[in-house]
């Protein structure tokens, strides 16, 4: 899985050429990555994918006007065209007072080693990788005779090198690896079919969960959905399991991000320093955690990542900003710039809602009648108003016990009201993804069904 050494000089040459073409300043990145992906279904190899990709992306400023261009073709002709495209675009765009690179003095000096690259582990053969997926699926199929079909299991790994540079002479890079495994078994009984899945992902291969354990968890999740029914429309407490609770945390981060705020398209507008959630709620974004999936040494503009308290004891303490949105809002960057080919945005790193002290079982036991949500589908979140309405599946809670599976219902409310109504936070926080949460109990929501 070796990736050839990056050629950072390609990037510095392009930045120099942009200056020669009249750009007042410029920045850009170069990324090279290699993926391997194997899927297995019912014990047989389904698809095996090898890939190699590279991309150079350039952003130029002509005074306060800017534009971007990128290419996956790193030939000389193509790189010259990227410079031409970006400078031509910049000439026709208008000035934007807030445009520009961060102050070079603020850029990171030394890149901290966050151990994001697994360079010690011996490379596995494609057969061994396929075997990982096969073992995970086999464990799911062996769990119960009602698991008779499967959408398959997948193993993947990715190795990437990244370098970021500016026309002021800054150039830093880092390398990452990631490894993952997922299983999607299908449970069936009496003509009903239910699918669920489980996964494990890590920066270091040795940190992947045991494939058989991932398979068994996936099987249990599919099995517990069998016999699902609709419930009557009712207003009740709703308990979100860690995965669905994490999606609420993502919605809060989206509303706290600079671009949605300066567009006045966020329900968190004008709420900095104000209470937005129950006092037990603290949400932190920390990009400096060693070996974590969301970590990176610096953001998309070369600013050092750090830990940011977004919500502290229920109070909105910080927005998530890149330099541009910070200038627009009269604030300072929180070092959350992200880059894609077309410009700069905002992205979280490792985002987590801090654990409480109650076990998830006790949270469920505290509910007389309500819904335990294990899956949410659809896009029914209005980021401008916080209005929330999504499809849900899970288990009905009756007298503090999980009574029977539920499907084809929606859960609805408003995110600000839901945050204020968080009455319980589980002690089950596990950093298994980029955004994580413990189990959450929301005091009241409308469950729509029959």
């Amino acid at each position: 899985m070796s990736v050839e050494a990056l050629r950072p000089e390609l990037l510095t040459d392009v930045l120099g050429r942009a200056r020669a073409r009249g750009a007042t300043e410029a920045d850009g990145f170069l990324i090279e990555e290699q993926h391997f992906n194997a899927s297995v279904r019912l014990g047989q190899v389904d698809t095996v994918k090898h890939s190699r990709e590279q991309r150079l992306s350039l952003r130029v400023f002509a005074g306060k006007a800017s534009a971007a261009a990128s290419t996956s073709d790193l030939s000389r002709d193509s790189l010259e065209r990227v410079v031409d495209d970006a400078t031509a675009l910049a000439r026709v765009t208008a000035e934007d007072l807030h445009a520009g690179l961060p102050d070079p003095a603020e850029l990171i000096e030394r890149v901290t080693d966050l151990e994001l690259e697994d360079d010690g582990a011996e490379e596995l053969s494609p057969e061994a990788k396929i075997e990982v997926a096969r073992r995970a699926e086999a464990a799911a199929l062996e769990t119960d005779p009602r698991i008779a079909n499967s959408e398959g299991a997948e193993y993947w790994d990715r190795r990437a090198r990244y370098v970021y540079a500016t026309s002021h002479g800054f150039a830093r890079g880092y390398a990452t690896t990631s490894f993952g495994l997922s299983v999607s078994p299908v449970a069936s009984a009496g003509g009903e079919m239910q699918r669920d899945y489980w996964f494990s992902a890590a920066r270091h291969r040795a940190a992947l969960e045991d494939p058989a354990a991932v398979g068994r968890t996936a099987a249990r999740r599919a099995l517990r959905r069998l016999g699902a029914r609709k419930v009557k429309t009712v207003e009740v407490p709703v308990v979100f399991d860690p995965d669905t609770a994490a999606s609420l945390v993502r919605s809060i981060a989206g509303a706290a991000s600079g671009p949605t705020l300066y567009r006045r398209a966020s329900f968190l507008l004008d709420r900095l320093g104000k209470r937005i959630a129950a006092p037990s709620v603290t949400i932190v974004d920390d990009g400096t955690m060693p070996r974590a999936l969301g970590s990176r040494p610096f953001d998309g503009e070369g600013l050092a990542t750090r830990a940011t308290v977004v919500v502290g004891d229920g109070v909105l303490e910080s927005y998530l900003l890149d330099s541009y949105s910070a200038r627009k809002l009269g604030l300072r960057s929180t070092h959350h710039a992200s880059r894609d080919g077309s410009g700069v945005g905002v992205a979280t790193t490792n985002l987590m809602l801090k654990a409480g002290s109650v076990s998830p079982d006790d949270l469920i036991r505290s509910v007389k009648r309500g819904l335990y949500v294990t899956e949410l589908i659809g896009f029914g979140v209005n980021g401008v108003t916080g209005d929330y309405s999504r499809g849900a599946a899970g288990l009905w809670i009756d007298n503090g016990e999980l009574a029977y599976p539920v499907e084809e219902v929606t859960v609805a409310g408003n995110l600000l009201e839901m945050l204020a109504a968080i009455e319980g936070i589980g002690n089950d926080l596990v950093l298994r993804d980029r955004t994580v949460s413990p189990t959450l109990l929301v005091g009241r929501m409308v469950v729509a069904g029959n």
Binding site: Q44, E53, A68, S70, A90, G341, D387, V446
Partner: protein, 482 residues
């Protein structure tokens, strides 16, 4: 700017990368053909341009070029796929070696699939593809939209107008010895506005496009309509009341609400899920799955539509597949792999996001045929219910059949009349049941404006949907008003 369409795909790739059809066929014959059931090489060159105007300032102006080749080898149910973003003979040979390594592992003697070779369509040859139109003209239009949206209502605070243009050149060589290319233009104009009144804010959005020239947006004052529709929607929502919660009669307006079909039945009728027996529709061909008023087709051959293709991404000409005829399930959408394994014919639905992705069965333009009823009469027939005319996204669980789609513009129906606008709400249903509850179908079939993007297994492709006004007796509406 490059005009990629001025040359044939064959010449394009041989001029630029020295990769000729003959070379591709030799590679397929030599490296790939032995002991395989199918194989192909897919070359792609893509130019994409994105312009975003916010606060009357060009917030984003970008241009991207990507190129690459994907090589695929298949034996029985196994697929080996390798891709590279440097199109060269040596990389193609290496990719072919990697792809074959997995597919012929079992060493089963295979027979090369012979596709039903038909003629490619010619659905979107443009005198001036949108990617070549001058930037100054495009930016001028975005500025006019900004002004028109603000002029439409004083409560509009923010306007985001965006225009994306793309051109893709592809060349596919299949193992059965033929090479076919396509040049695909695509453009989309979008307007999003935020209305603000007494501290309340709401969002409105409208857009459209297709495989059309830039001038399409200037015809019939289309751009003005996009701006005023976005504005109207945002302002309307400022006075929206809580949406109802529970099961009720729902009337869907024409056009984009056809996303119902995409989610409720479309994905469930894709060949891969049915071959694997994981779709709620598996094994139901010939059975009644909808009201007899319902006929649904997937048609990739409509000129200039966003979801249309001259050939799919495996080189099979697109077609018109009847999925449901008078309520009876009549067809699946197939790519070559699943068609071969299910002993059916490919339907021209093998699509991929790019060279970096293997194809799978996907929808093109999916819509319900018009019925007999007067749309106004359909609304009058409902004592109490919901009338939904615009939607955001949707999603489906293929296996359980449960699907959702989220209304972004909807109204209460009270006493047969459309009354108060309601806040956005998700509608949820069960695919194999939902269309049985269609009790009225209007004569006003409309296709959407050309904004749809469908995601499956991490791959996004442009699609279209369409619907006449229909009445559904008993949909669950996820509002907050119990």
């Amino acid at each position: 700017m490059d005009d990629l369409s001025s040359t044939s795909p064959e010449h394009f790739f041989s001029d630029r990368f020295n990769v000729t059809p003959a070379l591709m066929e030799r590679l397929l014959g030599g490296e790939l053909a032995r002991r395989l059931d199918d194989a192909d090489i897919y070359l792609e060159y893509r130019v994409n341009e994105e312009l975003v105007l916010e606060e009357n300032v060009v917030k984003k102006a970008s241009r991207h070029v990507s190129q690459g080749a994907g090589v695929r080898a298949q034996a029985e149910t196994r697929t080996g796929y390798a891709h590279t973003d440097e199109i060269s003979l040596s990389n193609l040979e290496e990719a072919a070696r990697q792809a074959r390594a997995i597919a012929d592992r079992a060493g089963a003697p295979g027979v090369l699939a012979v596709p039903g070779r038909g003629r490619a369509h010619d659905l979107y040859a443009l005198a001036e593809p949108p990617i070549v139109t001058a930037l100054t003209r495009k930016l001028e239009l975005l500025r006019k939209i900004d002004a028109a949206a603000r002029a439409a209502d004083p409560r509009i605070g923010q306007v985001i107008a965006s225009l994306s243009s793309e051109e893709i050149v592809i060349l596919i060589a299949t193992a059965s010895g033929w090479t076919i290319g396509d040049v695909r233009p695509l453009t989309r104009l979008n307007v999003t506005v935020i209305a603000e009144e007494n501290g309340k804010r709401e969002i409105g959005s409208w857009g459209g496009g297709g495989r059309v020239p830039f001038d399409y947006f200037l015809e019939a004052e289309r751009w003005t309509r996009f701006a005023t529709e976005a504005t109207r929607q945002a302002v309307l929502k400022l006075r929206a009341v809580e949406a109802p919660a529970g099961t009720m009669t729902v009337v869907l307006g024409p056009g984009w609400p056809g996303i119902l079909l995409h989610e409720a039945i479309g994905h469930g009728l894709e060949g891969d899920f049915n071959r694997k027996g994981v779709s709620a529709f598996a094994g139901r061909l010939g059975q009644r799955v909808a009201s007899e008023l319902v006929t649904v087709v997937d048609d990739g051959t409509i000129p200039n539509r966003r979801g249309s293709l001259n050939v799919d991404d495996e080189g099979t000409p697109t077609g018109r597949t009847v999925l449901i005829e008078n309520g009876v399930l009549t067809g699946y959408m197939q790519d070559r792999l699943n068609a071969r394994l299910m002993k059916m014919a490919p339907t021209g639905n093998g699509r991929r996001e790019s060279y970096a992705h293997p194809p799978m069965p996907r929808m093109t333009n999916t819509f319900m045929l018009a019925g007999q009823d007067d749309p106004q009469e359909i609304i009058r027939s409902v004592p109490n219910g919901l009338y939904a005319v615009a939607f955001g996204g949707g999603q489906v669980d293929i296996t359980s059949g449960k699907f959702v789609f989220s209304a972004s513009e909807a109204y209460l129906i009270e006493g047969g009349r459309v009354t108060a606008p309601v806040k956005g709400a998700t509608l949820i249903g069960n695919g194999p049941e939902a269309l049985r509850r269609v009790s009225r179908v209007g004569h006003d079939l409309a296709l959407d404006e050309g904004v749809g993007t469908c995601g499956k297994d991490g791959q996004s492709v442009p699609v279209g949907v369409g619907l006449p006004t229909i009445r559904l007796d008993g949909m669950t509406v996820g509002g907050t008003q119990v």
